[in-house]
């Protein structure tokens, strides 16, 4: 147990160091945050086109929180990054479970996703006149962390699925993000979807968490609590699935040599 925690600690730290080599605080503020703010503004302005404050706020909240889920799905990139640096076969050969290392390495994505999403919500909310009732608005912080973690679990699971198919990694990341955007009540309420799609969306990250965020803003804290529990259930489900299957995917890679030379 202590040994696993030690591995996770080093893996988290290593991921955090990696991240500091990708962004400096200047390039984060001037590059990434500008992109995030533009993305949320882009969707919020559709609400302005539609001419109703409720539409603007719905789109603003949905797309701001979607940033947390988007970064969570980036966990898929962990596998390809390890492969490109030549460390994936070493991780597979080590006595530690690969899922432990790969799932811990990208934890910074949960942190960054949460900060980016909340930054967009709290900076752009006042610009578009979104009411942010104090102090219950603070409940959105843990909910956003939960959503990012939930999407991160899905991303790590999918990372295992595409382990042997190097060329599909970026495809799954990009299509996965837009699919979540389309299916999970980010841009229109769930009741606008056909029944089967609304049913599927309940098993995907962000759906329940986002409803909880909207409930918090509307003042319905009881409903928000139930939705938060449902989101935690979805997160746990994807995490369990990931832990149960990841080893098999790695074994398949060891058997057919696709860990390093997958096409």
């Amino acid at each position: 147990m202590m040994s696993s925690l030690r591995v996770m600690r080093y893996s988290v730290l290593s991921g955090a160091y990696d991240y500091t080599s990708i962004y400096t605080w200047k390039s984060w503020l001037g590059g990434w945050l500008v992109r995030v703010m533009s993305q949320v503004t882009f969707f919020a302005l559709i609400g302005r086109l539609l001419g109703a404050n409720q539409q603007i706020w719905f789109l603003l909240v949905g797309n701001a929180i979607m940033i947390a889920a988007m970064e969570g799905v980036f966990a898929l990139n962990m596998v390809s990054w390890e492969r490109s640096t030549g460390t994936l076969p070493l991780i597979a050969a080590s006595p530690t479970s690969p899922v432990l290392v790969l799932a811990s390495h990208g934890v910074y994505l949960v942190v960054d996703g949460t900060v980016s999403a909340l930054g967009a919500l709290f900076l752009l909310g006042p610009v578009f006149g979104l009411p942010l009732p104090w102090p219950r608005v603070l409940l959105i912080i843990p909910l956003t962390i939960l959503i990012a973690a939930s999407a991160y679990s899905l991303g790590t699971f999918l990372g295992g699925v595409v382990l042997g198919f190097r060329g599909l990694n970026s495809v799954v990341v990009n299509v996965g993000i837009v699919a979540l955007m389309a299916l999970c009540g980010v841009n229109v309420p769930l009741d606008a979807y056909p029944g089967p799609i609304a049913w599927v969306s309940r098993f995907l990250p962000i759906t329940h968490g986002l409803i909880a965020v909207r409930d918090v803003l509307a003042g319905d804290l009881g409903a928000a609590g139930l939705q938060a529990l449902a989101e935690a259930g979805v997160a746990t489900g994807w995490l369990v699935l990931c832990v149960l299957t990841f080893g098999r995917f790695v074994q398949r890679g060891r058997r057919n040599g696709s860990l390093e030379f997958a096409t």
């Binding site: 990434w32 992109r35 882009f42 302005l45 559709i46 609400g47 539609l50 539409q55 606008a192």
Partner: protein, 255 residues
């Protein structure tokens, strides 16, 4: 011309062999669904044409950045740029040939979104001004190609190219008014849209879908052409600088 043809063919083989180079063709229909749902749910099904135009621009930008924009830099990373420059065929013609596949990729993206919108989402869109529509579409593809060439050279000279290419998408979509007209942007931001050719293009494409007359179409088309030429001029200047530096230092690949 031989170099151009070879570059063009080479880039097409990349499209065939690397599925991730065709990501926009997979995401564009999903974005069309997202935008169409928002507009229909908001009671503005009449604006569904907007939902078909925006994903086309998103695809085009993606191709311009991730396929065209990284053409020279990836040759440097792979260590193949020396062979390319030393080959008897012109370096510039090969690069231009590769980036010109943008014209094809963009046209395919447009066709895909249009067919998807019309026949899957049953969007009722009429092109009321076919000449303006066609002219702006062709000029847009040319302008995006020269912009991509400009970025391919800029990325070699810039240290923040990766950050830029990962971050520029939505700021450009916003300033290009690809979904929401520029008039709805904050006033202080609107002057900046003039130097983004997408803002002139999106105005024309959207205008072509409206029955009313298009004001100042000739001027808008001229602006797209002008910005395409400016991008080409900058690309040429940067390319000269890169090659001059390479000749003086004797280095082309990454140090």
């Amino acid at each position: 011309m031989r170099g151009f043809r070879s570059g063009f063919r080479l880039q097409l083989s990349f499209f065939r062999n690397y599925p991730d180079s065709l990501i926009p063709l997979l995401t564009a229909p999903l974005f069309t669904v997202v935008f169409t749902m928002v507009l229909r749910h908001g009671g503005r099904g009449d604006l569904s044409g907007y939902a078909m135009i925006a994903p086309f621009y998103m695809s085009l930008w993606w191709f311009a950045i991730f396929n065209g924009g990284w053409v020279i830099q990836t040759e440097r990373w792979e260590g193949t740029i020396e062979y390319l420059v030393a080959a008897p065929v012109g370096f510039v013609s090969v690069i231009v040939g590769r980036i010109s596949t943008m014209l094809l990729a963009g046209a395919v993206a447009f066709g895909e979104v249009w067919v998807f919108g019309r026949y899957v989402l049953r969007t009722n869109v009429t092109i009321h001004h076919p000449y303006v529509f066609t002219a702006s579409l062709v000029l847009t593809l040319i302008a995006m190609t020269t912009t991509s060439l400009f970025m391919a050279n800029l990325f070699v000279l810039s240290r923040t190219a990766v950050t830029f290419s990962n971050s520029a998408s939505y700021p450009v979509y916003l300033l290009g008014g690809i979904l929401v007209p520029i008039a709805l942007l904050p006033g202080w931001l609107q002057p900046a849209t003039n130097i983004v050719f997408l803002s002139w293009s999106s105005k024309l494409l959207r205008g072509s879908l409206s029955a009313g007359p298009i004001q100042g179409a000739a001027f808008d088309l001229s602006m797209i052409a002008l910005l395409a030429v400016v991008a080409l001029g900058l690309a040429t200047a940067f390319m000269s600088r890169i090659l001059r530096h390479a000749r003086s230092s004797g280095e082309l690949a990454l140090r």
